[in-house]
Symmetry: C2
Subunit: 118 residues, 2 copies
């Protein structure tokens, strides 16, 4: 099936996209894509998202330089979430950590298990 | 910070949860949790979600037996998505595939790269 036709965007025209480092296998972040972000990602080979807070298109790394070259792209069984395997330049997280998932559950609390990359 | 207080649920009281196989590193699925699903997961040690289509609480594997024992749990930088590392029993996908992300982008199409487990 055609790439875009198979994707089911939600009522806001968005779907969640998981980004995984193709080298380490680590899950780096979860962000949102609209149809335009999917088109931009396919056209350029670099991850583009839609920022819900800033309400705008967003090329990952456009200001930080921490770009994501898309190696593989997968759509799930329901057509409503994407998985991107990427070559990540620099840290993926805006806090300068490798992954956004740096708060680990330890008992009744979240513990920060990773410091920002210098 | 307290586990539940740190989580930012959306306007529908939900947040996306990514499930990753702790042994293979493979991303298995993306599902949704409400506060009750987080509580159930924490209380039992097995992944519980909220089904948006069926509008009910859902213990993963309650009918199929394909349960997910939660090994680690992470909250992202914005507090609005979760990552669960799990020991998966059987295939994670309702189509009997190991992962829900079995549609791989190949050129202008999605190709099924994985057959159901017998």
């Amino acid at each position: 099936m055609n790439l875009l036709e198979a994707i089911k965007f939600d009522a806001h025209g968005l779907l969640p996209a998981i980004t995984q480092d193709t080298a380490s296998g680590r899950v780096l972040m979860l962000a949102w894509m609209n149809e335009e972000a999917v088109r931009q990602t396919l056209a350029t080979g670099f991850a583009h998202y839609y920022s819900r807070s800033r309400q705008c298109q967003w090329k990952k790394g456009e200001t930080s330089g921490h770009i994501q070259k898309v190696v593989d792209m997968y759509l799930d069984c329901d057509g409503d979430s994407l998985l991107l395997k990427v070559e990540q330049t620099g840290p993926a997280c805006h806090t300068h950590r490798t992954s956004c998932f740096y708060n680990q559950r330890q008992g009744h609390h979240w513990m920060i298990i990773e410091e920002p990359v210098k």
